[in-house]
């Protein structure tokens, strides 16, 4: 497994309790919180209390509270919209509880992502699909496909900038089609080469 993989994602190194707890425990905790949310949502003050606990979680992990707001920032207007709509259709309590619960879950999930190295999460995925072996799912193939996909992100991004540069060198066009078609064709050819390389290493045997 590539060593650099954990620096690609959103994971932030640390040595707190939350960093040391196993990935399984954190994910199960998240599932439990998600299941409990249906019940928690009926009391607005409970939602705010759990949100407070998540804030404590960020502090325990050694992150500034601002990092938690960074997780929520892309959806802030949607949260405001949901608050107004729920207040308008029901009451102010639900106007707090519903968007509050969404923010709590997203922030808690963000905490799991920030404190768990990607290699640990890949191990969870590979082991979790183990029982699917009888349905023809090969866990090793799943793991390899994940690694291949992660590797393809910088490869395709590099390909995209090459195609873009070539396009600019030829003409000053901004046509998306003139960019996307050569990119996709080159990507298809690359995929053929990757497939051949895998077959040459005995992948399909």
């Amino acid at each position: 497994m590539a060593i650099g993989i954990n620096t690609l994602g959103l994971y932030q190194q640390g040595s707190s309790v939350l960093h040391r707890v196993s990935a399984w425990a954190k994910l199960i905790g998240l599932v439990v919180l998600g299941a409990a949310s249906i019940w928690l949502q009926s009391r607005w003050w409970l939602v705010l209390a759990v949100l407070g606990l998540v804030v404590v979680g960020y502090l325990v992990a050694g992150f500034p509270v601002g990092l938690m707001f960074k997780q929520l920032r892309p959806m802030i207007w949607l949260l405001v919209f949901i608050a107004v709509m729920n207040w308008w259709s029901f009451d102010w309590q639900r106007g707090i509880a519903v968007p509050g619960m969404i923010a709590t879950l997203v922030a808690a999930a963000g905490l799991v992502t920030l404190t768990t190295p990607m290699s640990a999460l890949i191990d969870v995925v590979v082991r979790a699909v183990g029982p699917l072996r009888r349905f023809g799912v090969d866990p090793e193939r799943v793991g390899l496909t994940l690694m291949l996909g992660i590797r393809c992100v910088p490869v395709v991004a590099g390909l995209a900038s090459e195609v873009r540069e070539a396009q600019i060198a030829r003409t000053a066009t901004h046509s998306f089609r003139a960019f996307a078609v050569p990119l996709l064709v080159r990507a298809l050819r690359d995929a053929d080469a990757i497939g051949d390389a895998l077959v040459a290493r005995g992948f399909d045997d």
Binding site: I82, F90, G149, V156, D190
Partner: protein
């Protein structure tokens, strides 16, 4: 029963590369057009193109892989979002829709077969990439955010002009790719389906197995 054979290496490579394509489309900065009040991001072209080019099974799988990479913490969704949290947010329905839409567009496109027709492609992309996507997206919003259908529509309607534009672009790009890289779409009619999505050569070594024993 036989549909669950493991995917050959070339298909896995195509799936991985198209997961990378959807990620790369998320890196393109959003554009602002006068016809649309909301910024248009290129990322939702990913499922449309993956389906129209790779077909249902591989296109759907490439979007499942993309979503798995997002869940693992790669900030690949447009705007640099990622992690498990995006699957708990009100827009989760659209993420499910990405996968379903790639599968549906791919299934229909490969069923129509070669040569790729712009008009049929447009109908398929509008049904799969717009109607189906909105059904999943709006349902997700209604469940997660406790909105009524009209409220969820209100939050989403400003994206409609951009999504219509993207469906047209996706079809034109898919036409260009199928012209420049023929052989992906199956031919129906004249030639019997020799190997539409995957070539199966797995059976042949079985007969030669006893020979191998004799050598030893």
């Amino acid at each position: 029963m036989t549909s669950q054979t493991p995917l050959p290496a070339r298909d896995l490579a195509l799936i991985a590369v198209f997961a990378g394509i959807t990620a790369a489309l998320g890196l393109i900065p959003p554009i602002y057009l006068p016809i649309s009040p909301a910024p248009i991001t290129a990322q939702s072209l990913g499922p449309m193109l993956a389906g129209a080019i790779l077909g249902g099974r591989r296109g759907g799988a490439s979007l499942v892989l993309f979503m798995a990479m997002v869940a693992l913490g790669l900030p690949l969704l447009s705007g640099g979002r990622g992690g498990i949290g995006v699957f708990l947010s009100p827009t989760v329905g659209f993420l499910v829709g990405f996968v379903v839409c790639a599968f549906a567009i791919g299934w229909a496109t490969y069923r129509v077969g070669a040569p790729y027709s712009i008009w049929k492609g447009l109908v398929i992309t509008l049904l799969g990439g717009l109607v189906l996507m909105y059904i999943f997206g709006l349902t997700g919003m209604m469940i997660v955010a406790h909105l009524s259908l009209s409220q969820a529509l209100l939050a989403q309607v400003m994206y409609l002009p951009g999504d219509l534009t993207k469906a047209v672009i996706a079809v034109l790009v898919a036409k260009g790719v199928h012209t420049a890289y023929p052989g992906l779409l199956p031919w129906h009619g004249q030639v019997a389906a020799a190997g539409s999505e995957t070539g199966s050569l797995d059976d042949s070594p079985v007969d030669s197995a006893p020979a191998g024993d004799q050598v030893r």
